[in-house]
Symmetry: C2
Subunit: 173 residues, 2 copies
DNA sequence: TCTCAATGGTTGAGAATCTCAATTGTCGAG
DNA sequence: CTCGACAATTGAGATTCTCAACCATTGAGA
């Protein structure tokens, strides 16, 4: 009921050791989390498998699509994009080269620091991104086949879940 | 295995046109599906981002990890793996070369057809796969932070959702 | 039986993606 | 002003990917 943010793992086990019943209950909850995670993970795998196909609809590689998604908000330095993509900075250079070559992205100099280059979408880039995001917002068959009641539950629970992630990118637009 | 992806949209609208009320209800349900999908998609993006890191824990590339996951059941021909990975057959050759080079996978000749080579995990491969799967079954913080009631709902709804996928790989083990 | 199109896998060319190490230009603290 | 830190780039080398061409085998039909 009170779904306070609860950093699990060690802390949970430490508390659990204080009482046999509590320990049992917590282990049950952990098991429950695994059970809930399993089908979710199935869906994720399926989506991961399809993502390259989806990106190809826009003649983008998976990484390019991901990058485009991340560049939707305000201009970001290359290093920030590298962070979002969890990859080396040197990787981003070539990636941006190709996106820039296609006229989807622009490098601009930051006035406060001449080392950094800010990435922003061009008009064309914004348009492609808009269509891409729209396409990605289409729920897959597995989801849209659920009943209204199920959808409502799913929505509410998942909203509460992602709230706890700190929500690095997803609200605007 | 043709175009399952786009089914719902058009068909829903076609049915909707038959009745004003029904149309409204269906549009509402579609909107609901989008609302439920959005936070789910957030989570998926986050997991996709983390997957390479997770695979690296086992010194595997993302594709290798995915392949290992798919090879858990019975021996499969290379073409089947290509299908699971949604990639060209020629791609699988090199991939399997490297996995075989590491002693995780074996090519065996199928007796019923001398063209096909069946892929099976070695002992070492099974062990790595076991640990990999165990690691992937750990729910992320966003999920395990939910309450028991929420987890139960999520589990039940998601189980019903993935049932409709035909479940190509996920039960055994 | 012989032929031949289709199939499973491999090879080679070429592009994109990735990491690591080294480089260049810039910033900021001592 | 100097020096370590930082942003981005470059270059080498590995992996992943697609496409086209290829080889061996299969299965079916003349």
């Amino acid at each position: 009921m009170k779904g306070m943010s609860r950093t699990q793992g060690d802390r949970v086990e430490a508390r659990a050791r204080k009482s046999g019943e509590a320990a049992e209950s917590l282990r049950a909850e952990e098991e429950l989390a695994r059970e809930a995670w399993a089908p979710l993970f199935e869906l994720i795998q399926e989506q991961m498998r399809q993502f390259p196909v989806l990106a190809a609809e826009f003649e983008l590689s998976p990484v390019q699509a991901h990058a485009l998604r991340m560049l939707g908000y305000e201009p970001q330095p290359m290093s920030a994009l590298a962070g979002h993509l969890s990859c080396d900075a040197s990787n981003v250079t070539g990636l941006v080269d190709r996106l820039e070559g296609r006229g989807l992205v622009e490098r601009r100099n930051a006035e406060h620091d001449r080392r950094v280059k800010l990435l922003c979408l061009t008009e064309a880039g914004q348009e492609v991104r808009r269509r891409l995001m729209e396409r990605m917002a289409e729920p897959p068959a597995a989801i849209s086949a659920l009943s209204s009641a199920e959808l409502r539950m799913l929505r509410d629970v998942m909203r509460r879940a992602v709230e706890k992630l700190g929500a690095p990118g997803g609200k605007p637009d």
